[in-house]
Amino acid sequence: MKLFNPYLLLFFWMIVSFTSFGKSIRVKAGGSIPNAVEQANAGDTVIVSKGDYTVNELIIRKSITLIGEGMPTLDGQDKGNIILIAGKNITVNGFRFINTGRSNTDDSAAIKFFDSSYCTIEGNELLDTFFGLHFSNSSHLTIRNNRLISTADREFETGNGIHLWKCKENLIENNYVKGHRDGIYLEFTTDTEVINNTIENNMRYGLHFMFAHDNSYIKNRFKANGAGVAVMYTKNVLMKENIFEQSEGSSSYGILLKDISDSQIIGNKFQDNTIGIYMEGCSRSEFTGNLFTQNGWALKLMASCDQNTFENNNFINNTFDISTNGSVVLNELIGNYWDKYEGYDLNKDRIGDVPYRPISLFSVIVEKIPTAVILWRSFMVTLLDRMEKVMPSITPENMIDNSPKMKPNDLNTTHP
């Protein structure tokens, strides 16, 4: 017998193609989605027509595709989760989820994933869900083009928008998250790309991650979140061309970096934040080509940070460029543009001949006595700052940029 019988091959091909294309099951308005899911086999598509459906704790374990036509509404009626997923190759596309339960003990969510992989959540709208999309112990997820909007008044009334716990190799792209507790929350989540999301007006942090190594965050926009963006205890992070804006408040940061190491922060824009970047215990990170503009403090660099490099950044129109809490400086400032720089450039190499000290005496005073901020821009304070510039005595001697640029660096980024 020939090993490669063409008929046998054809037969196999037919079986394979039949199972992989699957059949499609339609749910008409008023029909039951759980029944359709029950009937479906792996590889099938369940198409749900436009309409309102009540769904609670619908469990999906098969590899099926769930498609909504004309945004059918799945109403959780304020009880528990709407869909629970534990499986492979599951797609949920084009649904509107409303009214999950509001339980912190069970973390009610619109869709909750356990131990899943290769799942796609795309083009859904989540209104007033407690948690939005909740993933745990999963991998290879694609979360794309979803809109998550919560209208809760207080922080404890809402959960996180996109919540990943112990997940790896995911893509989170083009989502819009508003009014949740944390916009995007990642914990023990690795090798994940977060691209082009808009995260605004969340109660706590726009982006919050801990122990989430090797992730990249590119072209996201974080705006007016309660306390800005906070990231902690993580190494090897890439943050590129994001916009951090309007984080205003006493404990609000464009981005708070705590114990972050070996990371790159490149080409981001920090605008209208009380504090652009607050750094504590950060090491060996690079900050290159960022724009800091109209912040209260562009950088608060605590003395516990070491071996960080700030290169070719632009500091424009900030009230204070840098402040710190000690006299030890173990970080490097190279070739940044400071709009407050008043030196000259005799040899015309576009690098100022006089080093620039970005910490003003008054910012040290304000660090110690916040009330003193009310005297900012008074003639007295200007005089004091001038004197300190001539004879530095209180400000840390090593916080110095030896090659300040005369003109703003060309950042090669196109922020909208």
């Binding site: 205003e248 408040g249 006493s250 609000s252 209208d272 934040n273 009380t274 504090i275 109209q294 912040n295 209260g296 403090w297 129109n317 009230t319 204070f320 005073i365 110690k368 006595i369 916040p370 009330t371 003193a372 901020v373 009310i374 005297l375 900012w376 821009r377 008074s378 003639f379 007295m380 304070v381 200007t382």
Partner: protein, 255 residues
């Protein structure tokens, strides 16, 4: 009264001072606009002019004007006109000329190169401070017979409000750093018109920094309608009270 005011105005405009002052302001404004396109930078550069130079010139000019016009004033007092009218015509003429110089000097570049809320606020503060310091200078002038002494007093007032006062406040904040000082410092800013003007500008220029820590307290106060009404009310008091006292003094003064 109107006739008196008319003559007083004629008199000032004919003197070279008004034209020079306007030209100076115009030059400063043009220079600043040439250097930067960014409106917040423009207002930052103009801020020190408005908070330092404008009060200084107002105080000196008002004092010298009062004494240069003393003979005319005495002549007028011999006529059957009210003393208060003579006084008001003088002070109003000075205030009008000072404000017009600012409006023309800054207004023309603003019309050409554009303006925004911060620049307009700054102009308003400049005008308010002119009036405040002119009325304090008049108080200094009616209080003494000697021109040099009056100029000395006006200068001291200026130095006190623009330099020494802030130093004292800073010293106080430093000494009592362990206590909650927000309300006290807020009250202290009301006692200095220059500080008041400066803080109104801070609200526009450094709002991000003020949102932090205790700054939020000030931002809250000056940010809402009540705060704006109170602070402008206090600025008006700063204009009216010295003017009122100098008018009373003027009414009783033996020339």
């Amino acid at each position: 009264m109107l006739k008196l005011l008319k003559y007083a105005l004629y008199d000032i405009i004919q003197s070279r001072f008004a034209i020079l002052y306007t030209l100076f302001m115009l030059l400063v404004a043009i220079a600043v606009y040439q250097v930067s396109e960014d409106m917040s930078k423009v207002s930052l550069s103009l801020l020190n002019i408005m908070l330092m130079i404008v009060p200084l010139i107002s105080a000196i000019f008002a004092t010298t004007h009062f004494f240069n016009n003393l003979e005319f004033t005495e002549l007028m007092l011999a006529q059957p006109v009210k003393r208060s009218h003579v006084f008001l015509s003088q002070i109003i003429a000075v205030v009008v000329v000072l404000s017009l110089a600012l409006i023309l000097g800054f207004g023309v570049p603003m019309l050409i190169w554009g303006s925004d809320m911060t620049v307009l606020t700054l102009l308003g503060i400049g005008i308010s401070l002119s009036i405040v310091f002119a009325s304090m200078a008049f108080l200094a002038s009616v209080s003494t017979r000697d021109k040099a002494k009056a100029i000395g007093i006006s200068l001291s007032i200026w130095i006190y409000f623009s330099l020494i006062y802030d130093g004292l406040v800073l010293y106080m904040i430093y000494s009592f750093a362990d206590y909650p000082l927000e309300k006290v410092t807020l009250a202290l800013t009301f006692l200095n018109p220059v500080d008041l003007g400066r803080i109104i500008m801070l609200m526009q220029l450094d709002i991000s920094a003020l949102m932090g820590y205790t700054g939020a307290f000030f931002a809250d106060f000056f940010g809402n309608i009540k705060g704006i009404v109170i602070s402008s009310g206090i600025l008006i008091l700063w204009m009216a009270i010295p003017a009122y006292f100098s008018m009373r003094r003027f009414a009783k003064k033996d020339f």
